[in-house]
């Protein structure tokens, strides 16, 4: 057994042995657990959008410059990346815009006749536009479907030869 593995073994044994002792001690002043206030969820969601955009950008870049990925299906996949990237950007903007709106900015809230109250501002218009993010999301998923279908048909054709 190597020296490092032996060290790890000792650390695990000591940790398991010390944990009950620590739990039995005074915990009020330890503050081991951190509380999560309300905006954290939004921040995490927005960060998830940014991470998603980064992942899509990477996927686009790799499929664009990888010499072996020359099938037509990859072009559709890259289009999917662009559209979904834009959707993420729009959704990110929509979430941010919503944070600047209050109940007074809506008329007949929670009703099918709901409206954005005048006077219209950039944030209000931006919010109303981002509410229709499916105009990007749905075409993105459609191109993903077409891309996968193209790959599938190509493989079928190869097998039939």
């Amino acid at each position: 057994m190597s020296r490092e593995l032996q060290m790890n073994k000792y650390i695990i044994i000591y940790s398991i042995g010390l944990t009950p002792l620590l739990l039995l001690g005074q915990t009020e002043t330890a503050w081991a657990l951190q509380s999560h206030s309300a905006p954290e969820g939004l921040y995490v969601h927005q960060m998830a959008h940014l991470l998603f955009m980064g992942a899509l950008a990477y996927l686009y870049w790799h499929t664009r410059y990888s010499p072996v990925l020359i099938s037509k299906g990859w072009k559709y996949l890259r289009l999917f990346c662009i559209l979904l990237f834009c959707w993420n950007l729009l959704a990110f903007a929509g979430h941010q815009a919503f944070e600047h709106l209050t109940s007074s900015d809506f008329i007949n809230k929670n009703n099918l006749t709901e409206q954005i109250a005048p006077p219209l501002s950039f944030v209000k218009v931006l919010y109303s536009v981002t509410k229709m993010d499916h105009f990007l999301n749905v075409p993105a998923l459609l191109t993903l479907t077409i891309s996968l279908r193209t790959f599938y048909l190509e493989v079928l054709k190869e097998d039939s030869l």
Binding site: H45, E114, Q115, V155
Partner: protein, 519 residues
């Protein structure tokens, strides 16, 4: 400023959510189908997981939106307030999942490429190994057959070339750098006339002419080959052979000449025939000239002789003038005899031909000359064919043929010897050979012996017309005469000193009754 209605946005949100779920699951189905078709393909595997995450995200988000619209617009907002954090949390988690799958793709793809490259190499190595194993197996199983086939082919090839070597009518030989013959075919042994058991024969020593040998060696050395070189060699039997030689030099791996291989064609017969044809043409030309000269001289000689004889009547026998006229008459008569011989040579003299037995003609000549021959210690050996067919000829002229030949034989045997007379027949011809054991005829003059006035005798002892007349008479009879020196002994078939004249006359067919003809 008017308010901005949100109903269109809500409608887009509701139906868009449904379509998003539909498309994301359709994409997932295709990804699943791809993975089913290519389970080992990493990229399709990645897309499958990506689509799972996207479908889960679309489902979570779409359902969330639709539930929100349903609850909020049906006055159940408090319920949505409770569900909303869960929906948002799911959405966040699934977005992170999609991103994680994509990031994982990078490392996964690298690993997949590395594994695939190694797998391809391994597959290639396996394929090569399998191919080699198969080749080895086939080689093993067919080795015996292949060896047999190769051996058979080699044997056939060897047999073919051996047959060619053995049966060729030309000389085929191989010799080393010093000219020692290492291999020669039977035709070569026969034509060059040496013993098959002879262990060491130097090809260079067979050349009669040193200049030809020098040229042969120089061309082999300079050009690596010799083409159509005419060489003369003398075999063990002493006969001179004319060989048309083509040879190639043999080299070792360093390009150094180690010997040569060659083919020689025996041209002796062709050369002899050519010489005979040339000789015949020459004799015909000389004959025409001789006939012209003889005719022109004959008349004045007749006039000189006539007037001389007339003048002799005018003087007494004992007078000096009469003596002088007798000298003129004698010399003129000698001239007329020469002219007569020239006419015989040129076949211009008159003939009286009849059915003749050549044996009898020879006996008649011998009855006159044999005594003289015996006095010169020359014995005559007769080997006559008793059933010889008759020929059609002039007896007197044929007498002269044999007289001339016996005279020549006697002249060639000053210290005595033998004259061997042999007659024989073929289907159409009567053949006569007159051989002597004399000094023979040198190669350089053999072609001239039938020329008029060519003689080896001292001046005044011969006119040089004897063999010319003989040649003319034989030609006149439709026959041929050939000289052979040194002669081949008919009993031993070996070259022997002396000369042989071979005569051939056309025989008369048995049903031919026309036995006399005047020309």
């Amino acid at each position: 400023m008017t308010a901005l209605p949100l109903l269109p946005a809500v409608a887009v949100e509701f139906f868009g959510s449904g379509l998003a779920i539909l498309f994301s699951f359709t994409a997932l189905w295709y990804a699943w189908a791809l993975v089913r078709l290519r389970p080992d393909n990493f990229i399709w595997g990645f897309l499958f997981y990506f689509c799972i995450a996207m479908a889960a995200f679309s489902l979570s988000r779409g359902v969330g939106h639709m539930v929100r619209i349903f609850l909020v617009y049906s006055d159940h907002e408090p319920i949505w307030k409770k569900l909303s954090p869960y929906s948002g949390g799911f959405n966040t988690m699934l977005m992170i999942s999609v991103a994680a799958v994509t990031i994982y793709y990078h490392k996964g793809l690298e690993a997949y490429k590395a594994i695939r490259a190694k797998a391809e190499k391994l597959t290639e190595a396996n394929t090569n190994l399998a191919t080699s194993a198969e080749q080895l197996r086939q080689l093993n199983s067919h080795l015996e057959e292949m060896v047999e086939e190769r051996t058979r082919n080699l044997s056939e090839s060897e047999k073919k070339f051996r047959n060619f070597f053995q049966n060729s009518k030309d000389i085929i030989y191989f010799c080393d750098i010093n000219g020692i013959i290492t291999n020669i075919n039977p035709s070569g042994i026969r034509l060059l006339g040496f013993d098959a058991q002879q262990t060491s024969v130097n090809f260079h020593h067979l050349f009669n002419n040193a200049n030809v040998l020098e040229r042969y060696l120089a061309e082999l050395h300079d050009n690596g080959s010799v083409s159509d070189l005419e060489m003369q060699c003398t075999g063990k039997d002493g006969t001179t052979r004319h060989i048309l030689l083509s040879a190639n030099a043999l080299y070792d791996q360093h390009g150094k000449i180690i010997g040569c291989e060659g083919i020689g064609k025996d041209m002796t017969r062709i050369k002899t025939i050519t010489e005979q044809l040339i000789n015949q043409e020459k004799m015909a030309s000389i004959g025409q000239i001789a006939a012209g000269v003889a005719h022109e001289i004959n008349t004045p000689l007749g006039i000189i002789l006539g007037y001389t004889q007339l003048m002799m009547d005018d003087f007494t026998q004992d007078s000096e003038m009469a003596d002088n006229l007798k000298v003129v008459e004698r010399q003129t008569t000698a001239c007329r005899r020469i002219v007569a011989d020239l006419l015989k040579f040129s076949r211009q003299s008159e003939s009286e031909k009849s059915r003749i037995d050549i044996n009898r003609i020879i006996e008649e000549v011998l009855s006159v000359t044999e005594h003289t021959l015996n006095l010169h210690q020359i014995s005559v050996i007769r080997r006559f064919d008793a059933n010889l067919p008759a020929i059609f000829g002039d007896a007197e002229k044929l007498h002269q043929v044999f007289i001339n030949l016996f005279n020549n034989a006697q002249h060639a045997m000053q210290d005595g010897g033998k004259i061997i007379l042999q007659t024989g027949k073929t289907v159409q011809d009567v053949r006569v050979s007159v051989e002597d054991t004399g000094t023979g005829i040198a190669d350089s003059i053999r072609n001239k012996v039938f020329d008029p006035f060519f003689t080896t005798k001292e001046v005044g002892k011969g006119t040089g017309l004897g063999l010319s007349v003989t040649y003319g008479i034989v030609q006149e009879h439709g026959g041929t005469i050939q000289v052979e020196s040194p002669r081949i002994d008919p009993t031993t078939h070996l070259p022997s000193p002396g000369t042989a004249f071979h005569l051939r006359f056309p025989a008369i067919a048995k049903n031919n009754t026309n036995d006399k003809e005047h020309q």
